[in-house]
Amino acid sequence: MGKYILRRLIIALPSLLGISLILFILLALAPGDPFGELASNSNIPPEVRAALRVKFGIDDPVLIRYLRWLVAMLHGDWGFSFASRIDVDKLILQRVPTTLFVVGSSQILALTVALPVGVYAAMRPYSIFDQIANTFAFIGFSLPTFFTGLLLILIFSVNLGWLPFVYRTDIAATGWHWYWENFKQAIMPVAVLGLFQAASYTRYVRSAVLDVIRLDYVTTARSKGLHEGKVIVKHVVRNALIPVVTLVALQMPAVFGGAIVTEQIFRIPGIGSLLITSILANDTPVIMAVTFVFACLVIVFNLLADIIYGWLDPRISYR
């Protein structure tokens, strides 16, 4: 198992480097440069501008700039935000917990809904429950998250007034009241993200369980007289979960992408909205750092998916 993890790690690192290289080259190829606005400032004579360019090494070849950037990132020097005037890593660290909370809760919600519904639908295929579950799943992942978000805001915040629709990280309350306020404001974004994921997970769980439930060892377990619940949970679900778990881990990057949109709708101060605001504000160090963080998340979750898959299915790690 250890060798398997090591092999996966060795593959993951070049991928991370490759992604960061692609990112950096994208930004290097883009027209315009950070000193563009200095050019219009008449206080700065052209010699000073040229000297600044040499000092910051803007005209050096791309690969040298990339290596310099990489070394700086690895040292922990993530740059200085043009727009927010603080160090980029502090800015990101401020916002990561919120995003992680929303995304994590939505995944937990998605799995809590999808697993029972998918398993039960597979236990009784083509029954009424199955048809209804399938239809809801289709509707669920055809509704774009921004539309469901807007609908929920319309119904619950505007018309009924039950839930706040602006997310605040500085709620002035303590104890149970604080938890209740947090819960109320987090319900809608978590529900939007979670139910969208739940829709596609339900279909995968259903088809994975359907693949397993007709196999011989399940029939053997039933004919041995085992309780149906035990058959389902101990034998069917354990084996059907293997592709599902891999799918969940592989979907995490897409969920973070979906979180970007949700954060815009509900005004949640997380990493996704940081990306959007920095793109609109032309704030290159923040854009680079946030996209790098997203790329790292993708690699980490792919790695996690491989490791969990190897742990759940011992046949994989012996290869």
């Binding site: 921004f146 949109v261 793109i279």
Partner: protein, 275 residues
């Protein structure tokens, strides 16, 4: 379900293509006396905050949204099939390199990079081809560039299994060159999963384009794609909900119909019915 969806999609497409000929209100006729009015006989979908008729705007925007969806799917399928075919038919290092590139692209975070590329190259393409055409090309290429990987993997898997079959061996014994083998024999038989992936791609492309417009980074603001309509509508939710509802419902129905069609195609091409 799938047949009903084909009908719905055909209706939507014909409405979008032929509609502007039947419903002749211009899309940018500003009429402040009719701002934010609810649906009425004069304006069946209501009006927006500038008094522009929403039905006309949605019909016009629908053309663009559907065009982006289908074009992006075409790009993704062409690139994916090309790379999958080359990878599948050749062994050894070409295959390994192409698969490593595919894995690398699969590991890229989609939405952040989409936003980044559009933001970086929007002005450049605008100067090159004009605002609408430039953005169209950019969005289609970028969305297509993120969706070719599953197609490539599918095609490669099909090639690897079809390559060992007898009819390929027979064709090779008859003296067929490799390109002819690929084009005339293997490729037509491997297109089943590709078609299913293609329908999913259209839905995903439409959603991606709507997301981009919703975040404000898609087409220029005066072009009323459905995502852009939602972006404009979200500030007026309490006083004019019909605006957001119609635009969102259009996206929802199109994507739902495409998903049902894809599911129906998958059932038709791979009937593993559970008894």
């Amino acid at each position: 379900m799938a047949v009903a969806s084909v009908v719905i999609l055909a209706l939507l497409t014909s409405a979008v293509v032929l509609g502007p000929f039947a419903w002749r209100l211009p899309i940018n006729e500003i009429d402040f006396t009719a701002r934010l009015s609810a649906p009425s006989w004069q304006h069946p979908f209501g009006t927006d905050d500038l008094g522009q008729d929403l039905l006309a705007r949605m019909l016009y925007g629908g053309r663009i949204s559907l065009a982006v969806g289908f074009a992006a799917m075409a790009v993704a399928i062409i690139v994916g099939t090309l790379i999958g075919a080359i990878s599948g038919i050749s062994r050894g290092s070409v295959d390994a390199v192409l698969m490593w590139i595919t894995d690398l692209f699969l590991a890229l975070p989609q939405l952040p990079l989409l936003l980044l590329v559009i933001y970086l190259f929007r002005d450049f393409l605008k100067n090159l081809v004009g605002p609408e055409g430039g953005i169209f090309i950019l969005i289609v290429m970028v969305i297509g560039a993120f969706r070719w990987m599953p197609v490539a993997r599918l095609v490669r898997a099909q090639f690897l299994s079809l390559r060992e079959k007898e009819f390929v061996e027979a064709a090779r014994a008859l003296g067929a060159t490799t390109p002819r083998l690929v084009i005339r024999h293997i490729l037509p038989n491997s297109l089943g999963p590709v078609i299913v992936a293609g329908t999913i791609d259209v839905a995903a492309a439409i959603i991606a384009e709507s997301t981009l417009s919703f975040l404000g980074l898609g087409f220029p603001p005066d072009i009323p794609t459905w995502g852009r309509l939602l972006f404009d509508a979200k500030d007026y939710l309490d006083i004019a909900p019909h605006w957001a509802l119609f635009a969102g419902a259009a996206i929802f129905l199109t994507v739902l119909a495409i998903n049902f069609i894809g599911d129906g195609l998958r059932d038709a091409l791979d009937p593993r019915k559970v008894m």
